[in-house]
Symmetry: C2
Subunit: 533 residues, 2 copies
């Protein structure tokens, strides 16, 4: 953003700003609704003002303006503005994303958005009334929190289609009973199918409880943010950045994993997952690229670890903050020396699972602190490690909130789980957690969070959990209550009439089949002459 | 396939077959060109013939026929056949995939494809002249071999776009030099971008050398296959199944990884990767679903290991077959007891890298043999383990063939690497191999192929290799010589004129921008009345 090239230069004689794009790369791009529809747009430009002498121009950095782009009556772009639709995209076709360039375009003084910063109309002098310029992170945090809640619903749509269809569809006889007379097996019986779909089913609930908790937390501290008190926002901003990255990656990859698990019909239009995938694939990139925004989480965590590790008195060490406590515990334990005997009994106790995730996150935090602060390694060289740290931290949050929801009779977000559902959701909790540990086994081993023997046994435990979960899978996706109308999927129909719907879409609804094309390519007619039929 | 429901019943009085689809699930679906174009189709149906008494019908299993589907003059489906286009799909829009159902449709005797199997016209009796019914695997193997070669080119397209654009595009200043006056950094400077793109660049070459080797191998043994000698085909079939699964997964995931690495413009139509992705996403499913066909590889390997482990004399143990030798070595070493001291020095010696992959594959083969043959565990319960075994075996093949190509002055497929290119391709080899080891570190540790200390150091070695490779990245993608016309990508242009092309596509080529839409939604006109402009 600091590298943006569009200039807004104050002309103190004309009493207006002059908007100018000095190069092609100064173009605005992707602006929603700007392509065909918008008459006005909020535009961020480098604010360039004369200094006190009035002779030398000084850049005050990016600031927002509201700009009239098109004439309201003719809908034509104003002279000095080049604007249009950027054309085809992967998905999201309903949005006319636009581009915009300025050629010495005059913008009135009143267009400057001056709540926190002002430009004096008489002198062109700059003042600021912002108590804390970081206040803009408030709305960014809110957007990222909502993306987490959105991710769980999108993933639930894909999982609903997959679980329903793979329960209906049968394929192959049991290899150990090749001449068997029974029907072929339901595809969701196969572990190679279960391992792709059932952990994602568990993931929808993991995302749900954390989405609710951080959403509520944002509402709770919203008033303080308005007052400029960002003390609580900092952690929520760091947390929501990491969660946005992890959860949108889980959802985007999860949709495609579900689609491939459907087999051939997953590639067909009847799956209902093609448009979902195409539309959702913007999410890992927008509102902070998933590979980049994890730096915000990691930077916060490294600072936290530094405060704990370098505390000269016990003040930081008596903090009630959960991260502080976890870090302090880990530092104490590391100094005493951790061995295999200190690993957590994750198979015996769900609480121990939460501790294992937190120890692993603390371990990676300590490593990052040592690399960055103690050994002073260049930040850029640590980026892969910092990205992994953010993901580990976010996974710990997902696991903790899921566990709290299962334990509490009144969880933070008032999302009480009926006792009848608790046992099934506990299987989801363990499947999500153990599958994640299995995927990152070396982290959990290196941090002495889980013993090697337990790690070796995890694949079998995951298999067993999937066996326990499978009979409930259809009921669990039904619990998301996604209407057939929204799913728009032959494979995911709630009544299971998959093949009837596929045939109906192809044979009755597909307009291509209403025409007979002319096989004689040398004729000028595309359609067959009906009199010849 | 054995569960297919379409019936072809011989009517000995009418001297024809009666084709009938008893249910909706007996429909054919996906048949290429059948939707609108084809007049004839090869159709597989259950062959149902009268027994010797002529009274009882017997099912001889699936057999192929060639069926006239549409009238050649009117292009109308024949009476008794329901046929049409299945409608929208994820990609591959140029293909009119079709569906087909039969209603007691008469098919002449001559339609039965009788090279290996015959039905007597007089009696309706069944005979077979096939020396080996498995001969059909020959063409399946050929298809899978070609898919490996195709995968490398598709992946090379995506990597070409990513490497070129990410070298042009600059974003963010160095965090350790925030006030720096230099330009923002090239995006390909960031390790979090490198780690996604550069191992895939190395992967294109890994796939290339193995694709060439197995393609040549198939040609070499083609004559024997025709003679019914399938002894050499069995291993190639097992190998090509595993490679098809691994390589198409690498390519399909790789395209999307490259696309996301492009940032916002990756979601735009100018990336050139959207249609590529949509079209290629059929490949992990067709010609054997990637999650299922690895069973064919695993079954072959388990049988091999069984032969070696249970050999009563030394005959099997003196085999010249590479897998046999590797398995024998591993069994001997395991009996003597493997420890950390026996691990390979993969950082010092490229040959040791190949040995490490082969020991890990042998280790997983031995585990699978013990689970399946010794402990007699149900096949279905082992599917996840067997899928991982197939991937490990395929990775060992990729690594070995890459290494052979680098060492040999005349590699098997006559694909001699010029000595000037060897040092750069050696970096690709090590990057592909070490990145793969790092991703599956626990396997390599558990099999005593690589020591824990070396595994801990791999992330740093991968970073170093990427630093070495980056200056050559543009030259390496240029070496694939994919024409700009085929790439059809503003971001991937060989002349680097990314932003000019993006602007040209949006502003000059996009026909949407030639029209001014009417902002007065209550008017009946969609377009603005030109007289008002």
């Amino acid at each position: 953003m600091r590298g943006l090239e569009l200039q807004a230069t104050w002309d103190n004689e004309g009493k207006h700003f002059i908007f100018h794009s000095p190069t092609l790369t100064a173009s605005k791009w992707w602006n929603g609704s700007l392509g065909r529809t918008a008459t006005h747009s909020i535009v961020v430009a480098q604010l360039i003002l004369p200094d006190e002498s009035g002779k030398v121009l000084k850049n005050h950095g990016p600031h927002p303006f509201i700009i009239r782009v098109r004439d309201e009556k003719t809908h034509q772009p104003l002279a000095g503005i080049v604007v249009g639709d950027i054309g085809p995209k992967y998905g999201y076709s309903s949005m006319d994303n636009g581009y915009m360039l300025f050629n010495r375009f005059h913008v009135p003084h009143s267009a400057f958005l001056s709540r926190y910063f002002q430009v004096d109309r008489t002198s062109g002098m700059y003042t600021s009334t912002a108590q804390n310029p970081a206040v803009v992170y408030g709305s960014l945090t809110n957007i990222r929190v909502n993306i987490v809640l959105h991710a769980r619903l999108v993933l639930a749509r894909a999982v609903t289609v997959a679980v329903r269809y793979l329960t209906i569809r049968r394929q192959f006889r049991d290899r150990d009973d090749p001449g068997g007379s029974g029907p072929e097996r339901a595809v969701l019986d196969y572990p190679t199918v279960q391992i792709r779909v059932l952990p994602l089913l568990a993931t929808t609930f993991a995302l749900h409880y954390t989405g609710r908790v951080v959403g509520q937390r944002y509402k709770d501290i919203r008033e303080n943010i308005e007052k400029g008190d960002l003390s609580e926002l900092a952690e929520l901003h760091a947390t929501s950045s990491g969660l946005k990255s992890l959860c949108t990656t889980l959802a985007a990859d999860g949709i495609e994993t579900c689609r491939r698990a459907l087999g051939g019909h997953g590639f067909g239009g009847g799956s209902g997952l093609i448009q979902l995938n195409a539309d959702y694939l913007s999410k890992p990139t927008v509102e902070g690229d998933n590979a980049m925004i994890t730096q915000q989480t990691a930077a916060y965590i490294v600072k936290k670890m530094q405060a704990i590790a370098e505390a000269v008195d016990d003040k930081a060490l008596t903090s009630s903050n959960a991260i502080d406590r976890s870090f302090k515990e880990h530092l104490t334990a590391t100094k005493a020396g951790l061995s295999e005997q200190d690993t957590f009994s994750i198979l015996a106790d769900d609480g121990a699972i939460v501790h294992a995730f937190e120890r692993r996150a603390a371990h990676l935090s300590l490593q990052a602190y040592q690399a960055r602060i103690v050994k002073k390694k260049p930040w850029t060289n640590l980026l892969i490690q910092l990205h992994a740290l953010s993901n580990a931290h976010s996974q710990a949050i997902l696991v903790r909130n899921f566990h709290v929801a299962l334990c509490a009779s009144s969880p933070p977000a008032n999302d009480v789980i009926p006792s009848a559902a608790k046992s099934v959701l506990s299987i989801c909790f363990r499947l999500f957690a153990l599958h994640t540990i299995n995927t990152h086994a070396r982290d959990f081993s290196a941090s002495m969070a889980v013993s090697s023997a337990v790690l070796d046994s995890l694949p079998d435990h995951v298999l067993e959990l999937m066996d326990q979960l499978q009979p409930h899978a259809v009921a669990l996706v039904d619990a998301w209550s996604i209407p057939d109308y929204l799913l728009d999927s032959a494979l995911g129909r709630s009544d299971g009439r998959v093949y009837e719907d596929l045939f109906n879409r192809a044979h009755r609804l597909n307009p291509l089949n209403k025409e007979t094309f002319n096989p004689y390519y040398w004729d000028k007619n595309i359609y067959m002459d009906k009199s010849k039929l």
